[in-house]
């Protein structure tokens, strides 16, 4: 990792040479003097770039830079947090003092002191491996690529909006704790995709590539955009959007469905990732994101899915948006089981929640920015590949629907009752893929649904899909997570809900 001196530029304007460590030390020392039994200080310098081209015109182009310090403390057994955009020694002191005051106010309304699972403090550096720094690629090249891709899509009849998007993020983090941790990280995320909206007689259809929500996102550099070949997929994307206008509507009833890897990714995110968050299971999110049907008494006991279902949380997986060296509590990124051969065996945890179960933290705490506290967030929630190729699975299916690319998603606050819609579907008849279908939806109850899984495709169909917009917490935070998956088959699933009577 390059020497990250986040504050060099700023301090120069004040004529002093104050190191990052001085700022973090000042926060730690001030908090200790203020009565903190534990303190962590996190300075983050972030930058991001968003480019959106609609119909060959630049609709949005924004670069954002942000720098600040957040200090989280435990005083009298309660949490307090304060953060400031400025980063002088005076501000480090102000943050630490205010965090201690906030914690003291909390302490009057605690039922017991916060306890943290033990942790060996680390001194380390980590950097996302990238081949081409996305911030070094000329802006004109990025725009030209999206203008060309949207131009190809516009040639298709009935296309009202041809959309191309790129987003890049870089976070440089310095973390220090009163337990002695000193960690520097540079995390880089890249994303790109295209979409075509076709409008017909009172109908609007969308087709995206390689998936919805702006495309694919990975912890990687510009090489992702090269690999995606947006221009090469533009014509087919637009043609499918147009074809959807005249396609038959997905039938209603019970059906065998095969979900593609990207739809599986969101199915995993909503119905496994979120309910496996231990803060939700313990009620910490009851007022906002909700709780979980995976209550601690079910750990190790619940048959969550069929024997084909094994799901891990893996913060070490290459290219995943949930890949990092250390979480925002300084816990090393790791790979743990959530579901093993269908049985619910693990949670995503923090130091505080893990302690409640007598476990060590498995390192999933991440904050959106320097101005937010870390929360338990999905890392890379990966469904382990099975044994089928996609072609074999389709050939093995007598009558079914192949649903591809998420279009809508909704799930209740304990993560039982879900409904998803996909951009496209294909009939499967006698082992062959048939007609295109539009307005595909399916619904179910999480453990019943996962127990209907009778086949998972192999590594040739597996991808680690990025989710750039996961919301949680108060104040609300947005996090980038990933879910690895291949296509999978489910029997007797209710489909066509919403469009029937």
């Amino acid at each position: 990792l390059d020497s990250i001196d986040l504050f060099r530029g700023r301090q120069a304007t004040h004529g002093g040479e104050i190191s990052m460590n001085d700022i973090l030390d000042r926060a730690l020392n001030t908090a200790q003097l203020g009565g903190a039994s534990y303190t962590e200080a996190r300075a983050v310098s972030s930058r991001s770039q968003l480019i959106e081209v609609r119909n060959r015109e630049v609709n949005a182009l924004q670069e954002n830079a942000s720098l600040g310090l957040g200090v989280r403390v435990i005083v009298d057994g309660a949490w307090g947090f304060a953060a400031s955009a400025e980063s002088s020694l005076a501000d480090a002191e102000a943050c630490a003092r205010l965090a201690c005051r906030v914690a003291r106010a909390s302490a009057r309304f605690r039922r017991g002191p916060v306890a943290l699972a033990p942790l060996e403090p680390s001194t380390a550096r980590y950097e996302t491996p990238t081949r081409v720094d996305p911030f070094e690629v000329p802006l004109a090249d990025k725009i030209a690529l999206l203008v060309e891709a949207t131009g190809i899509m516009e040639r298709e009849p009935n296309i009202k909006v041809a959309l191309g998007t790129m987003q890049f993020w870089e976070d440089r983090k310095h973390f220090a704790s009163s337990e002695g941790a000193r960690i520097e990280q540079r995390i880089v995320h890249s994303g790109a995709g295209i979409a075509a909206w076709a409008a017909g007689n009172d109908d609007l259809q969308v087709r995206s590539y390689p998936t919805s929500f702006g495309g694919q996102y990975e912890a990687i550099g510009w090489e992702l955009v090269d690999r995606l070949d947006l221009k090469g997929h533009a014509a087919e994307t637009a043609a499918t959007a147009n074809a959807l206008l005249t396609a038959p509507v997905c039938p209603s009833g019970d059906a065998t469905i095969i979900l593609d890897g990207s739809q599986m990714s969101l199915q995993i995110h909503e119905s496994c990732g979120h309910p496996a968050e231990l803060d939700r299971a313990l009620g910490h999110e009851a007022n906002y994101a909700g709780t979980s049907f995976l209550t601690p008494d079910l750990l190790g006991n619940l048959r969550y899915g069929s024997e084909h279902v094994s799901i891990v949380a893996d913060a070490t997986a290459p290219r995943g948006l949930g890949t990092f060296g250390f979480d925002d509590e300084g816990v090393p990124g790791q790979k743990v089981d959530l579901v093993r051969n269908g049985r619910f065996v693990g949670y995503l945890t923090s130091r505080e929640t893990a302690a409640a179960l007598g476990l060590p933290s498995n390192g999933t705490m991440r904050a959106e920015s320097w101005g937010h506290i870390p929360l338990i967030r999905m890392t890379n929630i990966n469904l382990e590949p099975g044994r089928w190729t996609l072609d074999q699975l389709i050939a093995d299916t007598e009558d079914g629907i192949h649903m591809i690319t998420n279009r809508s998603w909704s799930i209740d606050d304990r993560r039982f009752n879900f409904q998803f819609g996909t951009e496209v579907g294909y009939e499967i008849k006698h082992g062959k893929r048939g007609r295109l279908l539009k307005n595909c939806t399916y619904t179910g109850i999480t453990p019943e649904f996962w127990n209907k899984c009778d086949a998972v495709c192999d590594a040739s169909d597996w991808e680690i899909w990025g989710t750039p917009n996961c919301g949680k917490g108060q104040p609300s935070q947005t996090m980038r997570t990933a879910q690895g998956a291949s296509s999978a088959r489910f029997r007797n699933v209710q489909v066509g809900v919403g469009y029937g009577s």
Binding site: R10, T13, W79, A82, A83, E86, R111, A199, F293
Partner: protein, 465 residues
Amino acid sequence: VSTPENAPTLATASATGPPLTREEAQLVVREALSQSAAEQTEAILEARRESLTRFANNEIHQNVTSVNHTLTLRVRVGRRSGMATTNRLDSSGLRQVADRALAIARLSPEDPHLPDLASPASYRELDAWVAATAASTPEERAAAVGPVMAAAAKRNLNAAGALTALASALAVGNTRGVFAYQPETYSQFTCTVRSENSSGWVDRHRRDVRALEAETLGAIAIEKAERSRGPGATEPGRYTVVLEPSAVAELVGMLVFLGLGAQAHQEGRSFMAGRMGERITGERVTIGDDAWDPRAFGRPFDVEGTPRRAVPLIANGVARGVVYDRRTAKKDGVESTGHAVAPPATEGPLPYSLVLGSGDRSLEQLIASTERGILVTRFWYNRVVDVKKTLVTGMTRDGTFVIENGRLTRGLRNLRFNQSVLETLENAEGWGAAAEPTVFDYVGNAVVAPALKVRDFRFTGVSPF
């Protein structure tokens, strides 16, 4: 007075006034505009001090204060424009962001729809500042939520929620001489109370934190949790429903992204595209964007410095209009209504202060007039299934009840709905008098809605709880 070299920080700023005063904002904006070498430049400066005391399991588990400011510069060179954002307000930071915006403009293609910058205008006064909210302390917030937790614990119930106090200031300026400044406060109390098999909820949004009596509001959530203990199941199907104001706001708020902004309309994606002047829902339905409705958390201008106008969107069931920013207005040859959204604004202009016209019934009267139906406290995880049909799916949450012979008789397990928003409004048979604001993204997108009684509301699934 601070200088840009020494913009107010957590260490130096007043903890009770706006996080950036008018004079400080003027200095920063003037300095930022002067750093720009472009032909024309706009500045958007926002400062926020946000405090939130959060509780769960009858104890305070998270408690935060965060102070930030962001400056966005948009510069123009001929028909090209570029934009960059920073939170560094010292001279070197301002110079860097101005240089970056200019570099982006030079690398960008010409924009045939680039509008003129706003000209200086007079802004109608809109008092959005409550000193008591800005001065809210962590001790006061803890003391406010404490009795709610105690009351829940006394009944063997479990309370979770949050009390927010936010003070912010928005300043907009440009090289044509525009300068607009607005200090705002916002507060919210939200609370979920759970028993072993039921829950209740309350949620209120006000400028003035003193208007949020947490203990009184918490009692509403406690009562709902108590009354819905041991919920039963009902079959999916069409039911008459009484929707509390929050549930109505959730549905009406979906229309914002389904096509009440000019960009979606121009692209043909809006549910109103090609239907302007036609009746699209019930004659009783009037929806407008009105920043000056005192409940609607409005702002007197937008981020382009255009004065905000009140805009009729649906009047007596007829599609009447959409909101504009300067770019979409130029395309349609009309004037901006002052609804530009903060960058990157990929969806174009959007309504900020949506108001659904109300009626003359109390919630109790709506329930009393219902022989057989379902009362919905709130909807949750609502998502668009079909844009043109305004078809939305979502779940009920935290207090769903059977209505029999005009009375709430028992709690119900949560239900999934698939329902068109316009059809819901068309099927409204009873309109509440009292409207409540719901703010979906802090200061920004507010929806003011009354309770409604609606026939033939379609539930398609049931949860196990």
